[in-house]
């Protein structure tokens, strides 16, 4: 079987896995979300979000460093004991599946709006989910290989976007610094939703080669890459569409390309959309992988494929239940935004504090007594 057990991924692969997990569904609508929150200052929110995430990464690293051989699902029971730890693990699994559902929904809606208006949602979602299931059943190493390979698409996507640079009006970015703090904060939330993938650090950390510091560096580089990539996308779209126009285009990246006609091919946006499907598939797969890993640890089973299948089915059924109508999706994504603040922001920070302060002191006391 490919992907032998205990085979670790290299740091380069780790870098690309994180990138591919972070860049996913959100990239097409990110400029719109940022603009809605903080107008032309949305890019500042993005930078701030990157900063916040870097802090959380540090917190996660501090926690993970104390338990070098286990991932999040091994850390939780060790910190809180089996009872509470298992419950927390289970909740995290559910959260990952919920992210999967959100990805499926947004993916389905995007395709519904742009290229396949008549194809039933369940066909698209189950196709995507089963491809991801096939991917994760081959193991993390194979996943990492593929993520590395398809990362070339990111560069092609970016190159396509460069077509819009000609018509950029940097004046649209002015005036800078008009947004108030709450607006910026809202922007950070929106940007954070597009960068959720950094939470995979918890799971990937013990499965990556290198010293703790090296791994932290790679992770920070990945974060830097994602922020830069997003920043360039956001700046290009902000420069292309005026502040008034931005409010009218929910998928500015696609609209930008739709307006450009090359001599050989028109409608470049459809090609970008096709590449975007790959990005969705990769980030979807990582979440599915994380949830199935979590479930397999919870149930003390080595048969990850079984839990992956279960997670896949669950994600498909929930997404079909919610459907791709406007309102339920908006409700669900609002819920996910709030949940994400908890699961990827607050909890990692608290975990760090608990692990570094409480856990260490308790352990030291124990050691002292013994």
């Amino acid at each position: 079987m490919p992907g032998k057990k205990n085979e670790k991924i290299t740091r380069r692969q780790f870098f690309f896995v994180v990138i591919q997990t972070e860049i996913g569904v959100g990239v097409l609508s990110l400029p719109f979300d940022l603009h809605q929150a903080a107008k032309q200052d949305g890019w500042i929110s993005l930078l701030l979000a990157g900063l916040v995430i870097q802090i959380i990464i540090l917190a996660m690293w501090l926690t993970a460093r104390m338990f070098p051989h286990v991932d999040l699902f091994g850390i939780l029971p060790r910190l809180f004991g089996r009872g509470i730890g298992s419950v927390l693990s289970f909740v995290y699994c559910l959260y990952f599946i919920a992210v999967c559902v959100l990805a499926l929904l947004l993916f389905g809606r995007m395709l519904h709006l742009w290229i396949l208006p008549n194809t039933p949602f369940w066909i698209l979602s189950s196709c995507l989910a089963f491809i991801s299931f096939y991917l994760i059943s081959s193991g993390l190493v194979v996943m990492a290989r593929i993520y590395t390979f398809v990362s070339i698409l990111l560069f092609i996507m970016f190159a396509l976007l460069l077509a819009g640079v000609n018509d950029m009006q940097l004046i649209y970015l002015l005036p800078i610094g008009q947004a108030t703090m709450p607006e910026l904060a809202k922007g950070i939330q929106g940007a954070g939703l597009a960068m959720l993938g950094f939470i995979s650090f918890y799971i990937l950390y013990p499965q990556t080669e290198g010293t703790p510091v090296q791994r932290l560096k790679t992770m920070s580089l990945a974060n830097l890459f994602v922020v830069t990539f997003y920043l360039l996308v956001v700046l290009i779209t902000f420069g292309y569409f005026s502040t008034a126009e931005m409010a009218l285009v929910p998928q500015p990246v696609l609209y930008l390309l739709k307006g450009i006609e090359l001599k050989i091919i028109s409608r470049v946006d459809l090609f970008l959309l096709s590449m975007w499907i790959v990005s969705v598939a990769t980030s979807f797969s990582t979440y599915l992988y994380m949830s199935s890993i979590g479930l397999s640890v919870l149930f003390h089973s080595k048969k990850i494929r079984r839990f992956a299948f279960f997670s896949t089915m669950l994600a498909i059924s929930i997404s079909i239940y919610i459907g791709i109508e406007e309102q339920p999706i908006d409700k669900f994504s609002l819920l996910m935004t709030n949940l994400s603040i908890a699961f990827t922001g607050v909890i990692p920070l608290l975990l760090m504090v608990y692990a570094v302060v409480v856990y260490r002191i308790v352990r030291r006391k124990k050691d002292g007594k013994a």
């Binding site: 290229i115 066909i123 698209l124 491809i131 390979f149 028109s266 409608r267 459809l270 096709s274 499907i277």
Partner: protein
């Protein structure tokens, strides 16, 4: 289950195992009767009675060469006494019936005397070999024009001639319980990874069948992923290609009676390489290689792309091209997917008919099939002009691949992609390509990743996959073969620095 197993095993073995293991009898009569019985009194088994019945020469008329019998047996026989013949001649003494039978089957002549349990066997095998001509299916422009033939020893000779090294190792084994085909595992000790060599040998050992007719049999028994459309071992009839692969640390498997050599482990990109790449200048080699890899994308993706553009995303076509495309497909009664499938099947029919028919008739088929049907089918309004172009291009692209196995695989993969693109458009193509990519990346050939320099990414290996950089830049062997000795060369262009230093 056990009951059945034991029964089938028994039936596979020869009828009288006990008798076969016995030593020869001292009685000539007994020996002769036994041998005659052992071969079911086969008519081509010749007994030549000598010295009024006290000695017999036994051989298969169909296997032994009369001239050699004259040379190796009768000449010494005239000069020497019988005892001397037993000891001093080129013959080999055998005292077991089993051995005698085996050597008779190889074409040896057996000389038996009354009163002695020893039978002397003379090597009189007649051989018919075709010349070591260049294989028809792997022609190259420049370089070696020799090819393997159906004789194992000559094939190994061709390899050894190219690698005059004591580390070149050949291991024989017999496969097939009835056919007992001689199979050789060839590798270079000290370069090939011992783990891979062991894997190959172990897998060969577990093969338990009645007969091995072609290396295709062996391939199916020992490859990692039997349910994959992709070939996982290189099939070649070229000794130079085999030698080059051995030097990269791979293992070759040859079988008696077949001119095809199997090479493992193989990567996907190995099927896109040809010795021609190295015989031409490296710019040209690179260009040709890029064309070949581009042909992969055309071969599996072009019809799918065309169908999804015509069927789903007409807006992708630039304005000036819209009218020609639209006018070409407007009068066609069938949807593009039917058009495509019809055309692809027609091309496959023409190809298959062309192979089976003798060469002169084959050309006729090409003309009738290609030109006449192609023209008529458009006029009849069954298939559009554009679809003919697309499918013809696809077929040509699939023939560019140097390996026949990979080429058939590509043509097979066109079908699922056509169906996917006809149902989901671009999305379908992306889904199809993703599945393909996942499949390629999770495959392994004898423990080394199949899609090697791309997934997992080995930047250094890319210089001999997509491009062909100058040979003096390739200092290391490709990593996918996991060779023990990494370095392939020192400074082969050291004369440049030497010249500079002299100045």
């Amino acid at each position: 289950m056990n009951f059945f197993k034991s029964r089938t095993k028994k039936s596979n073995q020869s009828a009288n195992p006990e008798k076969e293991d016995l030593p020869n009898s001292t009685s000539l009569k007994e020996n002769v009767t036994y041998l005659a019985e052992a071969f079911q009194r086969s008519s081509d088994l010749k007994f030549r009675v000598l010295e009024e019945g006290s000695a017999v020469l036994i051989y298969f008329e169909s296997l032994a060469d009369q001239e050699k019998i004259q040379d190796k047996f009768f000449k010494p026989y005239m000069q020497l006494t019988k005892d001397e013949l037993m000891t001093k001649s080129s013959g080999r003494k055998m005292d077991k019936r089993k051995d005698v039978i085996q050597f008779l089957l190889k074409g040896h002549a057996a000389f038996a005397i009354d009163g002695s349990a020893d039978i002397v066997l003379f090597s009189t095998t007649s051989t018919f070999n075709r010349s070591v001509d260049e294989p028809d299916n792997e022609k190259i422009v420049r370089g070696s024009h020799e090819g393997f033939i159906d004789n194992l020893m000559i094939n190994i000779n061709l390899i050894r001639k190219r690698i005059e090294n004591k580390n070149l190792t050949v291991n024989f084994s017999k496969l097939g319980e009835i056919s007992a085909t001689k199979v050789a595992v060839v590798y270079i000790d000290g370069i090939a990874n011992p783990k891979i060599v062991k894997k190959v040998k172990d897998r060969l050992k577990t093969i338990s069948v009645d007969y091995i007719i072609s290396p295709g049999f062996i391939e199916e028994f020992i490859e990692d992923h039997a349910y994959s459309p992709f070939p996982q071992m290189i099939n070649t009839e070229r000794p130079d290609k085999t030698a080059a692969n051995l030097l990269e640390g791979r293992v070759a498997i040859l079988a008696e009676g077949s001119s095809t050599c199997l090479i493992a482990p193989a990567t996907f990109f190995a099927f896109y390489q040809s010795p021609d790449d190295y015989n031409s200048r490296w710019f040209t080699g690179t260009f040709i290689r890029l064309i070949r890899l581009f042909s992969f994308i055309i071969a599996i993706g072009l019809p799918a792309f065309y169908i999804s553009v015509v069927g789903f995303h007409f807006e992708v076509i630039p304005q000036d091209l819209v009218i020609p495309v639209k006018s070409s497909i407007n009068d066609i009664a069938y949807p593009p997917i039917v058009e495509a499938l019809v055309m692809v099947v027609i091309i496959e029919l023409i190809r298959e008919a062309g192979i089976r028919l003798p060469t002169p008739v084959g050309q006729t088929i090409g003309i009738v099939g290609g030109l006449v049907i192609g023209d008529a089918i458009v006029r009849a309004g069954l298939v559009s002009n554009f679809m003919i172009i697309v499918v013809a291009l696809t077929a040509i692209a699939s023939f560019v691949v140097p390996s026949n196995e990979m080429s058939t695989t590509l043509r097979l993969l066109t079908f699922p992609l056509i169906i996917l693109s006809a149902t989901l458009g671009f999305v379908g193509i992306v889904f199809g390509m993703l599945i393909l990519l996942i499949h390629l990346s999770r495959m392994e050939s004898f423990g080394s990743p199949y899609f090697s320099p791309l997934a997992p990414l080995h930047v250094k290996d890319l210089k001999d996959t997509f491009v062909r950089l100058p040979l003096f830049k390739m200092n290391n062997r490709p990593t996918d073969a996991k060779a023990v000795k990494k370095k392939t060369q020192g400074k082969s262009r050291g004369w440049i620095t030497n010249a500079r230093q002299k100045k």
